[in-house]
Symmetry: C2
Subunit: 171 residues, 2 copies
DNA sequence: GAAAAAATGCAACAATATATCATTATGGGG
DNA sequence: CCCCATAATGATATATTGTTGCATTTTTTC
């Protein structure tokens, strides 16, 4: 196990093209994500309470972004006392510990493919099927850093969200 | 005049480092922006009505993003009947004609430095002084396009918003 | 087991945005 | 010039997203 609770060379992100879902066992995907989250919280001495875990599971129920008030509805059966604050506080916890991401362009939340290390994701969002792919860190991040560096701009938060139509949905 | 109502080699964007405001005559900046907008609307046969023009001017009142309900307040003196719809409709018009941009990460609006041609901006947002710089199209866009192309993803909308601290504000 | 800290409950409200239908203004063809 | 079609705005209501403040409960620590 490495720092984020995953084996080396393993990531929660789906392989090279996340939009091609064939052979993707999402149950397994979800369980891995939850295991990683639990492991991280234990290492850090933070508490993945029942409420937080449920929100986490719901966010991970697919690779499509989920909205806060939808989470609230889905939460009601198990947590009848849940209110907007409950959801937003759970989301805040998960965001703070890099277990999920927020998509600014959609006001929605999605599981983080490389949890644990605080980072800013770069996302491809299919407008048709709703699937979101988190791009691995890389040249793009470097180039943004370079552009900013040229004018002495110190980056704090990066929002890179690319919406369009994935290969699958173009047929 | 070229297609966007500006002379060649001229842009509404402030030179190389937009965060350095010295010598920046914003009145002139605003007037140029308005002239360009009027010119564009005339060419296209679209109507920059009093309401739309006022919203445009207010958005251009600085190089910081402006929120819709702030616009509404500022609009009231001249347009007492203005309601949220009025503002959002004017913003929609200005967005559709690439006269302004929306910053997803702030729910706010800002003048477009290269108006007329529909495009997606890439922004540096200073969290301290609020100044926003629109980066010129370039390598970054190409690289995003390349990454997307690798997996057959057709880009429709790009959101690239980098928040941080500008050189001026780091002192 | 008591005190401190963390998490949740609960109520109200703030901020952002859209829907719907009526009314008014504008530009074009007779 | 007037009528018509279209575009724009007015007016009202409502939907969506997110926050504040304080009380209560749960968990941890000593």
């Amino acid at each position: 196990m490495n720092f984020n609770g995953l084996n080396n060379n393993e990531s929660l992100a789906i392989a090279s093209n996340p939009f091609i879902a064939d052979g993707h066992d999402h149950g397994r995907c979800q369980r891995k994500a939850l295991a990683a989250a639990k492991s991280l919280c234990q290492q850090r001495g933070t508490r993945l309470t029942a409420l937080r875990q449920r929100v986490f599971e719901l966010v991970w129920s697919s690779h499509s972004p989920v909205k806060a008030y939808d989470l609230l509805e889905q939460l009601k059966p198990d947590h009848p006392s849940a209110a907007p604050t409950s959801v937003y506080r759970a989301l805040e916890f998960l965001l703070d510990h890099a277990l999920i991401h927020r998509l600014q362009s959609l006001n929605a939340y999605i599981g983080c493919g490389t949890p644990g290390r605080l980072h800013h994701g770069q996302f491809l969002i299919c407008q048709r099927c709703g699937t979101v792919a988190e791009l691995p860190d890389g040249d793009l991040r470097k180039q943004i850093g370079h552009r900013a560096g040229e004018i002495g701009f110190r980056i704090e938060i990066e929002t890179v969200e690319i919406s369009g139509i994935c290969a699958n949905c173009q047929g």
